[in-house]
């Protein structure tokens, strides 16, 4: 909430977000969240030889939502689909040197967005991966409760 609660890395990604925009020749686009709740995210990916060769995002949301998504795009670029699928919230937040507990909620969206983009990619290939089909934010409630109590900052 206050500026000082954000790590230097979060602020750096917020000020200079990487990979902003939309891939014109995207192989899949994942959109998650809802502006009503204050966060919405769109991730587009390009896949070549089972690898994510390019990725871009757009986010409506607070600094942590923007920074988390920016960090995630950096971490995912060049990874195989299997590796990308395994990327966890912990990995991204670890990369950002932590987030204020109250901001956990906003940052989960980035990982959801990636899953959704992968879901759309597989779907375009005729493969239905329901486990990647993010619909709401409820799937993370339990995880969120655990994170809130943990040492995050």
């Amino acid at each position: 909430m206050e500026r000082l609660e954000y790590s230097k890395t979060v602020l750096e990604h917020f000020r200079n977000p990487r990979n902003v925009g939309e891939l014109e020749d995207a192989d899949a686009v994942g959109t998650v969240g809802n502006p009503v709740c204050g966060d919405m995210m769109e991730l587009s990916i390009r896949v070549e030889d089972n690898r994510i060769t390019d990725i871009k995002f757009r986010t409506f949301g607070c600094a942590s939502a923007i920074a988390t998504t920016s960090m995630l795009t950096e971490m995912v670029k060049g990874k195989t689909l299997e590796e990308a699928e395994k990327l966890s919230w912990d990995d991204v937040v670890g990369g950002l040197e932590g987030l204020p507990p109250v901001k956990v909620h906003c940052s989960l969206l980035a990982v959801d967005g990636l899953k959704k983009a992968l879901y759309e990619y597989y779907k375009s290939r005729g493969i239905i991966r329901e486990d990647l089909n993010i619909k709401g934010e409820s799937e993370h409630e339990e995880e969120e409760a655990v994170k809130e109590s943990g040492p995050l900052v």
Binding site: G38, T59, F60
Partner: protein, 386 residues
């Protein structure tokens, strides 16, 4: 980098002169006002002088002023202290644009069997008088509303609301926290029964406030003890704080013409500059608003991001976005005005203080368009619209 501070509604500095007047009461005049001896006399007289200053700021009688620990305590005392004398009345009415401290005090009463009702507002945040007329009845104990909304600055029809309360035999409580520094009020003329004042919002020290209680209103204390403040607020008086609040009230009264007029000019320039950014709109009443308040919403982007970018540019403001609240809820005031959640999320609150300069305002007007377009470029909803 000189910081541009446009968050007066959140905190204000103590005026230098106020601090000077307070200092002797920490050291040489440390006596307890209750003492009969000489060391008690000086602080006792200082407390009474302060009471006079606070009273004259709102055209009240000094005997109608009780010092408290701040606006929150004053609100609690007003809304809870009168209920035992209005036993048959079980309804408490507040506005839908009240500060959290009023809302929470009212909600806590529901466990004691009270019903809380909320006065609706129109799209500029002004309390609907017609609805108030229908809601305030023989069952109503207290009607509480702000003189002006702290978030959007809309000035409320205080006189009309107080007289509606009176005709139903209910008591009125008005929160003057945000308005006292910038708008004169005559509590007698408005027919107000109780009014909350906050020292820090008058550029006095924190930890002090006052409650105006009109002569004849029956009220009991919440805090029991040695019977200070006519038995309405026990506990040894916070003499330096009270002296500070008195000085702040006196100076506010002296500057009531000059400061608000200056702030109004700067505020209008700020509103003009910000709303000239495409799809950016003023929240609240363009005419009847606090001289220091500009609440502006910028479509398609979120408030905390804007706040943080302004912060990185050396500018301090607040936002109505959920993302900046501990509760993760969007501003209740903006939602009550009929704004959509995403509009509330995209709102920024700029509040001026008497020391702001043209340079401050020009700096905001200079950096804001870039921040808005940068965040819009990043926003999926903006790009969908394109």
């Amino acid at each position: 980098m000189d910081r541009v501070y446009l968050d007066a509604a959140t905190s204000l500095p103590v005026r230098r002169e106020v601090l000077e007047e307070m200092l002797p009461f920490f050291t040489e005049h440390f006596g307890n006002p209750s003492s009969i001896h000489e060391l008690g006399r000086i602080p006792r007289e200082a407390v009474e002088r302060s009471r006079g200053h606070v009273a004259s700021l709102i055209s009240a009688d000094p005997s109608e002023i009780v010092f408290t620990s701040g606006a929150t305590e004053s609100i609690n005392l007003a809304m809870r202290g009168v209920l035992p004398f209005l036993k048959e009345r079980r309804k408490v009415i507040i506005s839908s644009v009240d500060h959290m401290s009023v809302r929470a005090t009212a909600s806590a009463l529901t466990s004691g069997g009270y019903v809380v009702e909320y006065l609706p507002v129109d799209d500029v945040g002004r309390i609907d008088i017609g609805a108030a007329e229908r809601m305030i009845d023989e069952e109503t104990a207290v009607v509480s509303f702000p003189f002006a909304s702290s978030e959007v600055g809309t000035v409320q029809p205080a006189g009309e609301l107080a007289s509606l309360a009176h005709s139903a035999g209910a008591l009125s409580h008005v929160d003057l926290t945000m308005s006292a520094l910038q708008m004169p009020v005559d509590v007698g003329e408005c027919g107000i029964d109780m009014a909350t004042l906050s020292s820090p919002d008058l550029m006095g020290p924190k930890g002090v406030g006052a409650l105006f209680i009109r002569k004849g209103v029956k009220i009991t204390s919440l805090i029991k003890g040695g019977g200070q403040e006519r038995n309405l607020r026990s506990g040894s008086e916070n003499v330096p704080g009270i002296v500070g609040m008195g000085a702040a009230a006196r100076i506010a009264g002296e500057r009531m013409e000059e400061d608000p007029a200056r702030m109004r000019v700067l505020r209008d320039r700020l509103i003009e500059g910000l709303t000239s950014i495409p799809e950016s709109y003023l929240n609240g009443d363009p005419e009847n608003r606090l001289p220091n308040n500009a609440n502006v919403r910028f479509s398609y982007i979120e408030g905390e991001s804007m706040l943080l970018m302004l912060d990185l540019n050396g500018i301090s403001v607040s936002t109505g976005s959920a993302c900046a609240q501990k509760t993760l809820e969007a501003s209740k005031t903006l939602l009550a005005m009929g704004l959509k959640h995403e509009e509330a999320h995209g709102s920024l609150i700029f509040t001026l203080n008497p020391t702001n300069t043209e340079h401050d305002i020009e700096k905001v007007i200079e950096v804001m368009p870039g921040i808005v377009s940068e965040l819009r470029a990043m926003s999926p909803i903006y790009n969908m619209k394109e």
